[in-house]
């Protein structure tokens, strides 16, 4: 079947197998005829991280094993989604310690990308809350990994984009919460400088993220809304109301041009009247605003889109971000959503994306101009010693990757040790020079 990542670019013809159990999975790997496999969870990575001509889907590895109501420690299959974790545990007072901006990711996918949330500056990344996991490696064995057991494989697998093996199940720690609600404070920033200052002022807020209007230039460059949040003690436990609003078909490309995006952004910014505004909101709209609109990617038309997310060190902040935003504003390429965040300290995982600094995520329609623009942005990011997020990437060159992830050689040596090279490979790993072939 023809299959793509969330951005629907690139698309590949692939054979997808869906093992029914851990045993079944082990059989698949032991009796494999095809050379290389890549794991796939819910396919929310944007580019080619979960793509290959032979894909193993974890859709049937989706069972909980055990849960400790006192400690919040959960053991479950790698194919369990955060959506199911939320559905099952929020009303019992437990929340994922780290959640990305969509609840439709699997635990395996969250580990493989070492995903971050709006609370990275206070609690770190997803894998900082993973106590252990089990992974099927190339020879068909299943190994236990934790920060103390098979540590090298743990560090390589967390953030390792599925390139070390197939995670079968994991033990993670959930966060105690008192309700399903969030106390949200939104602050207006007239420009980038104000925005970064606001992040500093509010660095003790558990959650924070800023939405940037990328079309603004000059003195308005970086006009933004900073959204802070903390779990509320009020409101009780309400299940998430799942809306069925969805975009039924790919919209013609003209729907997303400078004018419409500009109008959208103006409306969004104008919605907040006062300098700061407070809201008591359900966790759904707070963490997962896009999950309410099924198939929103169709807004980008049939050719698909790419997301570009990078991080640059804190001291490069204002200057680096200004250069990037300036470039984008001048290009007029419409980014529908541009999200800025402050990262706290990074962890030891070889390919984890976050390190202390500023990260910005932008969407672009697939086009020749976009790819040219992104190459220019790569150069700026590289200038400041930054890196680009692998789980969003579909086009970075191997040079840019290797410069951004200086531990890639350690990563490769661990892959080599566990026989992963050439056995667990994706289109992305080939493009980045981690596996041979195309």
């Amino acid at each position: 079947m023809l299959i793509g990542g969330w951005g629907q670019y690139p698309l590949v013809e692939a054979k997808v197998s869906s093992p029914l159990s851990g045993d079944d999975l082990q059989r698949t790997i032991k009796t494999r005829e095809d050379k290389a496999y890549i794991a796939r969870g819910l396919g929310r990575s944007y580019g080619d991280s979960s793509l290959s001509s032979t894909i193993i889907s974890t859709r049937y590895l989706n069972r909980f094993h055990s849960f400790n109501e006192k400690t919040g420690v959960l053991t479950c299959d790698a194919g369990v989604s955060l959506d199911e974790v939320l559905d099952t545990f929020v009303h019992r007072g437990w929340f994922p310690s780290v959640t990305p901006g969509t609840r439709f990711v699997t635990i395996g996918g969250a580990i493989a990308s070492d995903v971050h949330g709006k609370n990275h500056h206070t609690v770190g990344a997803f894998c900082d809350h993973v106590l252990s996991f089990r992974i099927l490696i190339a020879n068909g064995d299943i190994l236990n990994c934790s920060p103390s057991e098979n540590r090298d494989l743990f560090l390589a697998t967390c953030g390792g984009m599925g390139l070390t093996g197939l995670i079968t199940d994991a033990t993670i720690k959930l966060l105690k919460v008192e309700s399903s609600f969030i106390e949200e404070t939104t602050c207006k920033a007239r420009n980038l400088k104000e925005c970064l200052e606001l992040f500093d002022t509010h660095n003790s807020a558990p959650y924070s993220v800023a939405w940037i209007d990328c079309l603004k230039q000059g003195k308005d460059l970086g006009r933004s809304l900073l959204m802070l949040g903390r779990h509320s003690g009020q409101g009780g436990y309400d299940d998430l109301k799942k809306t069925a609003l969805s975009i039924p078909f790919n919209l013609p490309e003209v729907c997303l041009n400078k004018l419409t995006v500009g109008a959208f952004n103006a409306l969004y910014y104008g919605r907040i009247r006062k300098q700061t505004q407070e809201r008591h909101v359900h966790y759904g709209p707070y963490f997962y605003p896009l999950d309410g609109i099924g198939n929103w990617t169709r807004l980008y038309g049939a050719k698909g889109f790419v997301q570009y997310q990078f991080v640059i060190p804190k001291d490069a902040g204002l200057e680096g971000m200004t250069r990037v935003l300036d470039k984008i504003a001048k290009s007029g390429a419409g980014s529908f959503l541009s999200v800025l965040k402050v990262f706290g300290k990074g962890n030891d995982n070889f390919l984890s994306f976050p390190f202390e600094g500023y990260t910005l995520a932008l969407d672009f329609k697939v086009s020749v101009q976009t790819f040219e623009l992104l190459d220019q942005l790569d150069a700026i990011v590289q200038d400041y010693g930054g890196r680009v997020y692998l789980t969003k990437d579909a086009r970075m060159s191997d040079h840019v990757f290797k410069a951004g992830y200086p531990q890639w050689e350690v990563f490769q040596s661990v892959r080599e040790k566990y026989g992963a090279i050439g056995t667990f490979a994706s289109l992305q790993s080939r493009r980045l020079g981690l596996d041979a072939g195309r």
Binding site: M1, S18, F64, C76, D87
Partner: protein
């Protein structure tokens, strides 16, 4: 809190339905032929909130006395409110055409075993004058088609049997629900290419729970299969025979 017995509990559709029962805190007894699979599912359902959960082995082609198994299940549950029958196989039509054995085996799993189950439980539910019997049949039972009539005939037999049972149990206040899914993306259909008409097991599960709650008799899941099958049933033979359905 309901007392629910599921037969064929390792089926993807049954498991998705069991999760919804578990979340609302029901008490569950699961029967299927593979104990290892059952234990994994039982652990999962416990975490999801099932109050009390038991499992037992049942094979639709087995020689064991199923009455003993059912007796035990009802005893363990201390009664029964809902019975859900879900097991089934999609036989290779072409293989069946040249093998009486294959054809009869498919009938045994999809039809006669279900008839045996229903004969036993009809009496239990009739005596207690309450509760729900739900069976997963299929849209394939609505009209015989060259590509799939062995499966279709067995499902058709189940649908008619249920129709009669519903008539009989109406006066006892027992719900008899015939569930007719269209294409569902499960291990049974792993080999098929999936298009727009395909549903996920979670979606079917929700519709099953809704139909149980609303005391429905027959449900097409999703609903549009009711329309599709109405058309397929109404096409005259002389046209139908020109299709490759």
């Amino acid at each position: 809190m309901k007392k629910v017995l599921i037969i064929g509990a390792t089926s993807a559709i049954a498991e998705a339905t069991a999760r919804l029962f578990a979340k609302r805190g029901d008490q569950l007894f699961l029967l299927a032929r593979d104990q290892k699979k059952l234990s994994v599912i039982a652990d999962d359902l416990k975490v999801r909130g099932a109050q009390n959960i038991h499992t037992g082995v049942y094979d639709a082609t087995g020689q064991q006395s199923s009455e003993d198994i059912f007796d035990k299940a009802i005893k363990q549950l201390d009664g029964i409110d809902i019975l859900l029958v879900a097991h089934g196989v999609l036989p290779d039509q072409k293989a069946c055409e040249i093998s009486v054995g294959d054809t009869l085996k498919a009938f045994e799993v999809n039809a006669t075993s279900v008839v045996a189950i229903l004969t036993y439980f009809a009496n239990v539910f009739e005596a207690q004058k309450k509760g729900s019997i739900a069976v997963i049949s299929s849209v394939a039972g609505d009209r015989g088609r060259q590509s799939n009539y062995v499966y279709g005939a067995a499902k058709g037999a189940v649908s008619i049997f249920l129709q009669g049972l519903r008539h009989r149990l109406a006066k006892s206040g027992v719900q008899v629900l015939t569930i007719k899914p269209g294409f569902v993306d499960t291990p049974m259909t792993a080999a098929f290419d999936k298009g727009a008409l395909w549903a996920q097991p979670e979606q079917i599960a929700k519709l099953i729970i809704k139909a149980l709650d609303r005391k429905k008799s027959v449900v097409y899941t999703p609903w549009f299969w009711g329309v599709i099958m109405l058309i397929i049933r109404s096409v005259p033979d002389w046209i139908f025979h020109k299709t490759r359905l």
